[in-house]
């Protein structure tokens, strides 16, 4: 008994820490660009690679651009793109999953084949292939990530809904005169919600990782867009003179992904 108690305690403490972290980053990303006076694209060629603490709170990059302003814009970009990707993947994925479990038969099979096709390739490879159509553009990146991720929601939802639909309490509800609307809303969604929440939080982290990784290797968003991965690439040649400058975007990625993973709660494998 005591064991379960401590477990749920650390469990919720972990989630609270994740929520706090993400909350702070979201504030930085939404308010930051408005509050910070500096323009992220404004170059100050007299002050390249300025150290933190002077005129610029976090210093400047090799063109003398304010790192604080750039990090704030990059946060808004990454969080925004992650939210967009996850919603674009989760909503159709979940609805199709429930529909496939409910309908069964040919529709279920066809959707299963489509999801198998997408899973045939590792997700990043698929995104890379799409990114090749328009390197540096926002659209293929977003489409590729959403396309790779909806399958997860579809599979999890379909499997969960299938098990739930075959459970006696759903059969009993049918016999007691409840319709499909009630069963989906009151019996299936509440069981599904915690699973979906975990998956969404985790996939936000995955999206942030993928966006920065692709930009870092030069296939995602390109400079001068303020993005963590491309900022790291740009500052990489200066790691000897200004090691903390390179580590700043890296630290932002770490904090964001850590926040989402903590928010996801369980140690998901």
């Amino acid at each position: 008994m005591t064991k379960t108690k401590t477990m749920t305690f650390t469990f919720s403490r972990r989630r609270a820490a994740g929520a706090a972290l993400i909350g702070a980053l979201a504030l930085f990303g939404t308010l930051g660009p408005a509050v910070i006076a500096a323009d992220p694209a404004q170059q100050d060629l007299l002050a390249p690679l300025a150290p933190p603490g002077g005129d610029y709170l976090l210093g400047t990059d090799h063109y003398g651009r304010s790192l604080l302003a750039r990090l704030a814009h990059a946060t808004r970009l990454s969080l925004g793109l992650a939210v967009l990707t996850v919603l674009s993947a989760a909503i159709p994925g979940t609805l199709l999953g429930i529909a496939a479990a409910w309908a069964g038969g040919i529709a279920d099979r066809a959707l299963g084949i489509v999801s198998d096709m997408i899973l045939a390739l590792p997700g990043l490879l698929l995104v890379l292939l799409l990114a090749a159509f328009a390197p540096g553009q926002f659209l293929p990146l977003y489409l590729g990530l959403a396309l790779a991720q909806w399958v997860e929601y579809f599979r999890v939802t379909r499997a969960t809904a299938r098990t739930l639909l075959s459970r006696p309490h759903v059969e009993a509800s049918r016999l007691l005169g409840f319709g499909p609307g009630y069963i989906a809303r009151r019996l299936i969604l509440p069981e599904l919600a915690p699973v979906l929440a975990t998956l969404m939080a985790f996939n936000m982290g995955t999206a942030v990782l993928a966006i920065s990784t692709l930009s870092f290797i030069g296939v995602g968003l390109h400079p001068p867009t303020a993005e963590w991965g491309s900022m790291a690439t740009e500052l990489l040649p200066y790691y000897f003179e200004a090691p903390f400058h390179v580590l700043m975007p890296a630290a932002m990625i770490l904090l964001t992904v850590l926040g989402f993973h903590l928010l996801a709660g369980e140690d998901r494998s």
């Binding site: 459970r167 059969e171 009993a172 509800s173 016999l175 007691l176 005169g177 009151r186 509440p190 069981e191």
Partner: protein, 476 residues
């Protein structure tokens, strides 16, 4: 060499709270001991105390004397498999899922008794053959039914030939139909001169085994003596209650007065994956009668019931319901009560939603709750916080609120403890008598079927059970 075991003043405590108080008994070869009690009475702790596997945080006092030597508090690892053998609870979980049945028996001969592999394997198969498991020896546990796993465990116990054998809830999770099989297997071990201790909630097992019986309630032994006297002339109230709860001891009931037909089936046929399960079955259920549907696992009992309710579609045949009855008046009560309720909803929500759906007044439920002795405090709990018996009574309330004409009761008591089982059976019978309800009761239990039902229908197994590969899955 034969063993005698004497347990004296055994007390097990967690913190200051005593889980087991002053338990005592003796076992000698040929005189088996059965500890009888419901789940939660602490029987299994006694087994762990003898084996030496109690969790470290529990403190234990008293004496456990094996052949004159107090072994309590000593490391007993060296005795396992040599002096003391254990028949585990739920053997389908205790067998290694990645090892074939014969290997699991043979390794006892190899590693405990030191035979070379070839002989060990032969002896292992011989033990399985003795127990009628020849066909199963090359199968993995997941390909065996619960009863077959139980017999593999028995073969392992036999291979070890320990003088003392402990059986911990050997019928747990098994169909009632298999319990005699298990009990007879254990009896044979005792007759071979082994000292046997059996822990069970099942009076029938105690009856078959004979020897001595100890009855346990809340961690204490309330009655102890020769099986004959304890089971035939019990002195303690609790023992009496336990014995009365067994269907074979139920008093005959007043015959019911059946009326017109509520539901009838003609020529029902259903097969799954090409295997016929129900073939050409005719059936009538009248208002105000209880019909029992008997048959071994896999004989299609539940399938037949689900066909009647329209939950499955028959391949052939037709079902006619009495004209003018709403489909809502055909209902079902489930085997596993917790799974019949949404796990995240409180019972109050479930009933409120039902009232809303059908425009019923909440007042309609109140007398039902009273009649079923369900206090209003229970309403705000979730299924996980209620006992199986409480949930099954809620399930009956839920069904009765819709004034059913026909109820399919799919093994409604098989997951309940004996005393609750009796209550639920009584209720079903009363409802048939008072409300003219037609009840089709699916069950394994012949004694209960004879006691409750005006008519008994027995389905034969579509295929021989013991040799069908993985046909019956063990309950998880």
């Amino acid at each position: 060499m034969t063993a005698s075991l004497e347990v004296d003043g055994l007390t097990i405590a967690s913190g200051g709270h005593k889980l087991i108080r002053d338990v005592f008994f003796t076992v000698r070869p040929g005189v088996p001991l059965t500890l009888l009690g419901e789940s939660g009475s602490g029987k299994s702790l006694v087994v762990q105390a003898i084996m030496g596997t109690l969790p470290a945080e529990l403190s234990v006092t008293g004496r456990v004397v094996l052949d004159g030597k107090d072994i309590l508090g000593t490391d007993r690892r060296a005795l396992w498999g040599r002096r003391i053998g254990l028949l585990p609870q739920e053997p389908w979980l205790a067998l290694d899922p990645t090892m074939r049945a014969d290997g699991q028996v043979a390794e006892v001969y190899r590693h405990v008794r030191g035979l070379p592999w070839s002989q060990a394997r032969q002896s292992g198969r011989a033990r399985l053959r003795e127990l009628g498991l020849e066909a199963a020896s090359r199968r993995y546990p997941f390909q065996l039914s619960g009863g077959m796993c139980q017999r593999v465990a028995l073969a392992i116990a036999r291979a070890a030939e320990t003088d003392l054998l402990l059986a911990d809830e050997p019928t747990k999770g098994l169909d009632r139909a298999l319990r005699d099989d298990v009990a007879n297997g254990l009896k044979a071990e005792a007759d071979r001169g082994r000292s046997l201790i059996t822990i069970t909630h099942d009076v029938a097992v105690a009856r078959v085994l004979g020897g001595k019986v100890g009855v346990m309630l809340d961690g204490a032994m309330v009655e102890y003596g020769p099986a004959g006297s304890v089971l035939d002339s019990p002195r303690h109230d609790y023992t009496r209650q336990l014995l009365m709860a067994d269907p074979s001891a139920w008093a005959p009931r007043k015959p019911l007065a059946p009326r017109d037909t509520v539901i009838e089936a003609r020529g029902l046929t259903k097969s799954f994956g090409g295997v016929p399960v129900i073939e050409d079955v005719d059936l009538d259920i009248l208002a105000g009668e209880v019909v029992a549907l008997l048959g071994p696992s896999g004989s299609g009992k539940s399938t037949l019931g689900n066909l009647l309710l329209g939950l499955l579609r028959p391949d052939r045949g037709e079902i006619r319901r009495k004209a003018g009855l709403s489909p809502l008046r055909f209902q079902k009560v489930y085997q596993d009560p917790p799974s019949a309720f949404a796990p995240h909803q409180t019972v109050r929500t479930a009933f409120a939603d039902l009232a809303k759906r059908h425009g019923l007044d909440w007042k309609r439920f109140v007398p039902l709750f009273e009649r079923f002795r369900l206090s209003s405090g229970l309403l705000d709990r979730r299924p996980g916080q209620l006992s199986g018996g409480e949930l099954q009574r809620f399930a009956l309330c839920r069904v009765l609120a819709l004034e059913p004409a026909f109820v399919l009761a799919d093994e409604p008591t098989s997951r309940l403890d004996p005393i609750t089982q009796r209550e639920v059976a009584d209720l079903l019978h009363e409802l048939a008598a008072e409300h003219g309800l037609g009840v089709l009761m699916v069950t394994h239990d012949h004694a209960m079927a004879r006691n409750l039902a005006g008519r008994v229908i027995e389905l034969r197994s579509a295929e021989p059970d013991a040799s069908s590969p993985g046909g019956v899955t063990a309950p998880a």
